[in-house]
Amino acid sequence: MRATMLAFALCAIASAIAVHLMVIQSMPSFIMSRTTSSLKAAGLKENKWTAAPRIMPLTQKIVRSSPDLFYAVCLLDLTSGQVQISVPLWPAYGSLSVFDDTSENVHISNLQGNSQPLEIIVALPGQTVSASSDTTVVFLPGPSGIAIVRRLAPDEASHKVATELVATSLCAAR
């Protein structure tokens, strides 16, 4: 009986520790993966900018989305190579941010200005990147991630202008 109870206790402790660590370790990736799947189900393609509709209660996909901002999203897929990103600047507040597959913000650029479009290359660790000196190189720990453009566009007119900029933006495998 003592051996049975000992086996029960050891199995319970080992199982509790293993499951606890596995859940904690995988939770951010799991939530990010679900978000990515949800975005794909909504029609987003990998390595392609997609403008989100104006954030309203019926269009929100992500917690704490801001109704004052324009969002464009590119699902990054580096399995077939590095990804080149180019986005026009914006006269008001704007940013380009890159997140890895655990939702960690690994890069952010200021988009406010009136000069040439911002250029970055997204690559995997250890890869050799050939790029001009004014191009920023961002390394993702894994082959997937999300790039997001945010632009201050609190009304319909500015949101429309921001949406039209997606046509001149680039997010594509090199």
Binding site: I17, V19, V63, D68, S103
Partner: protein, 199 residues
């Protein structure tokens, strides 16, 4: 003995799962993983978006602040209580008043208790710097119905118990270094409630 071992694995697995969800704050009654920076009752967690966040913190952030940016780009302050410490709720009217805020741009947005915009079609779910006619002295009302006197309005219709999120975009370096020295943050004063409890 094999049945006891399987029972131990199942029971341990359930405990491991529940403890992970509790400690990462995923369950409704779980730990609050926000290690707060508090300014005038507004709470923030500046480890959000930071590689310094631990595993539990990262799980919490993934659930409640997915795709949040680094604090040098944006910080988020949340408040779910009025000046008297009572939860802010749909059946009350509130006046939110503020002064100049230490950032290039800011906004205040209303979310329900699950951090989603409430399901209403009023089109008034936030108030931002461009809505403030005087950046040094501004105010707006939070209520389920538009104020008759024309005061700027954020709708709480269908929000039940809710929270306000204050976003500071590109906050000043001085503020990030010493948030406690910031100019006063917005106040949330209860004006009246449909079921009593007004000031």
């Amino acid at each position: 003995m094999i049945y006891w071992a399987i029972g131990g694995i199942v029971l341990g697995g359930i405990f491991g799962l529940m403890s992970a969800l509790y400690l990462s704050g995923i369950t409704p009654s779980g730990m609050n993983r926000s290690t707060p920076v508090v300014v005038d009752g507004w709470q923030s967690d500046w480890s959000i978006g930071s590689p310094a966040a631990d595993r539990y913190q990262k799980a919490w952030v993934a659930r409640y602040g997915l795709l949040a940016m680094q604090k040098s780009e944006a910080v988020y302050f949340i408040r779910s209580h009025d000046e008297q410490g009572a939860p802010i709720r749909e059946d009350c009217r509130y006046l939110v008043s503020g002064a100049d805020l230490p950032a290039e741009w800011w906004s205040v947005t209303l979310y329900d208790h699950l951090a989603y915009l409430p399901n209403n079609t009023d089109g008034h779910l936030s108030f931002d710097a461009s809505d403030a006619t005087d950046r040094y002295d501004w105010q707006f009302e939070v209520a389920s119905e538009r104020p008759e006197d024309g005061t700027a309005w954020v709708s709480s219709r269908a929000a039940e118990n809710f929270e306000l999120t204050l976003r500071l975009y590109r906050p000043n370096a001085d503020f990030l270094n010493s948030p406690e020295r910031a100019t006063p943050f917005p106040t949330i004063s209860r004006l009246s409630c449909k079921h009593g409890g007004g000031t």
